[in-house]
């Protein structure tokens, strides 16, 4: 069932066991799983069926630190959430991403890749993905990795009919949960805002917060403040360890030979370090996106190379007449070191129309990440030399220790951390089952539970974790 307003929902007699906040990939996936298990669920969605400026305005906020996207641009507030404009690039976190890195504090998850692997066939079905293929090592240091460019499922569109027909799932649109109330053991109710005014409280046995990787922290910080710690009793890490995938053009390459890898339909190939290389260099994970550029792009690179390395330029010219493939741009996205100082705070001065403080995002890239970017390109460049696949040129700003450019992609719109998973309650907010520490009936879905970000786009892992949480809760509730 889908209701266009809270008023319309109230007119029917539907008692929910579980209340999910948010209808993005996380919320929709969990709702479908619980519904399929015969558990009555209400999904409260702040936005309507369509984009609107008014709804989007609730997402405004400020960033302090490094340049970042406007917070009302980097996500969408209507049915289906940010899946309405995601690019559909899919890959699940690497198994080593779940392991602690001795050289990077506060890394390591309380679960492993094996815990989400059983859900990957379901994820493939939901996101319409072909089979995952194993990574292909092209040297001891570098893996050629698969990044699937999927059809970019819009969750609101794809599942609207199914949800509308469902007897167990009620999606209630234009209903904003402004706050949860709790007594330090249980969440008692969600306070609602609908039709431009307070709409009372909604009660259920279980609550799952799936409002997105920025909003989950905001809602819980505000709820906790209002209920004197009654919603997140162990709140030291709440809002902290927030992460993105910074993304910059780090250099170019001349390619002669593609025998070790293939480019995809959009002329791109993706590379990451081997676990051994990361450990040896004490760097984070990264992904190099090699974009084959049009043939004329190679001329300026060869001219530049001729001044530096005549022999190489000759080799290139020879290859050119033989089978030189092209020049390429090298974009690098990397795993951020999880830092408590990168955090979501509540604004002290600015509130949204419902009176909820807006987000103040504190975010800065670290020195370890800068080293990851530079050493990563060196690793890749060395691999191309050793295998005689081509040559890499590191961008001037990076090679010369300059500032990050401000006119580039900046990051991936991937909002991770803030309510991270863990066993240490001073450094995490939820346990390995995504249940808030100290609370009996409060869970969190989405990438805010990520302990570390890995290098890949998050939604495949979000959906896998959502399937797992759906199964877990079905068992807990069914027992």
């Amino acid at each position: 069932m889908i209701f266009d307003s809270y008023e319309a929902f109230r007119a029917v007699n539907f008692t929910a066991k579980v209340c999910i906040l948010g209808s993005g990939p996380a919320g929709t996936t969990i709702a479908r799983k619980l519904g399929a298990a015969g558990i009555p669920v209400v999904v409260l969605e702040a936005g309507s069926r369509e984009f609107s400026d008014d709804s989007q305005d609730f997402y405004r906020g400020v960033t302090v630190g490094d340049p970042y996207f406007d917070l009302d641009i980097t996500r969408l507030r209507f049915m289906g959430g940010s899946s309405n404009h995601w690019a559909g690039w899919c890959r699940v976190l690497d198994s080593q991403d779940f392991e602690a890195k001795a050289w990077a504090p506060d890394t390591g998850w309380p679960l492993g890749c094996a815990d989400i692997e059983p859900y990957l066939p379901e994820v493939q079905d939901i996101l319409e993905l072909p089979d995952f293929r194993p990574d292909v090592p092209i040297s001891d240091d570098i893996r050629w990795v698969q990044l699937i460019k999927s059809p970019a499922v819009r969750f609101g569109e794809k599942f609207a009919d199914e949800l509308d027909r469902s007897r167990n799932v009620a999606v209630v649109l234009s209903t904003y949960a402004t706050e949860l109330t709790g007594d330090g053991k249980r969440v008692i109710a969600a306070k609602l805002w609908s039709n431009g005014q307070d709409a009372g409280f909604f009660t259920a046995d279980y609550f799952i917060v799936c409002t997105g990787g920025l909003e989950n922290s905001r809602l819980l910080l505000w709820s906790n403040q209002r209920s004197n710690g009654g919603v997140v009793p162990k709140a030291t890490a709440l809002g902290r360890y927030w992460m993105e995938h910074p993304t910059f053009e780090g250099g170019n390459a001349i390619l002669a030979d593609y025998s070790a890898f293939e480019v995809d339909a959009t002329n791109e190939a993706f590379f990451s370090p081997t676990p051994a290389a990361m450990e040896r260099l004490e760097i984070m994970n990264f992904g190099i996106r090699l974009i084959q550029t049009p043939y004329p792009g190679i001329k300026s690179l060869i001219a530049d190379l001729a001044c530096t390395a005549p022999e190489m330029a000759e080799w290139v010219s020879y290859q050119l007449s033989q089978n030189l493939r092209c020049a390429a741009q090298l974009y690098v996205a990397w795993e951020q070191a999880p830092l408590a100082s990168n955090q979501i705070r509540l604004s002290k001065t600015d509130v949204d129309p419902a009176g909820v403080p807006r987000i103040e995002l504190h975010w800065k890239k670290s020195e370890l990440e800068r080293r990851t970017l530079l050493e990563g390109l060196r690793l890749f460049g060395t691999t191309l030399v050793r295998k005689d696949l081509g040559r890499v040129r590191i961008a001037d700003w990076l090679a010369n220790g300059g500032d990050y450019p401000t006119n580039e992609e900046l990051a991936g719109h991937h909002h991770m951390g803030g309510t991270r998973m863990g066993t240490d309650v001073t450094k995490s907010v939820v346990d390995a089952n995504s249940k808030v520490h100290g609370m009996d009936n409060l869970y969190v879905g989405g990438s805010s539970v990520f302990c570390t970000s890995g290098e890949c786009n998050p939604t495949t892992t979000i959906v896998a974790l959502a399937c797992r949480l759906g199964d877990h809760l079905s068992k807990v509730i069914g027992a």
Partner: protein, 51 residues
């Protein structure tokens, strides 16, 4: 005058200082391995690319 300059003449110190860069150059003999990786002007190359 310090103990150090009393014992060793200023000229000896200057000579030692001038000799230093040359000594360190000797210690770090130029790499002649044609397959060695070198970084020049941002390019990651094989030494033999430069010849």
């Amino acid at each position: 005058m310090s103990f150090f300059t009393k014992k060793i003449s200023r000229r000896t110190i200057m000579q030692a200082l001038i000799a230093l860069p040359a000594l360190s150059l000797f210690r770090k003999l130029p790499d002649t391995d044609p397959d060695a990786i070198v970084e020049v002007n941002g390019w990651i190359l094989k030494r033999s690319d430069l010849t």
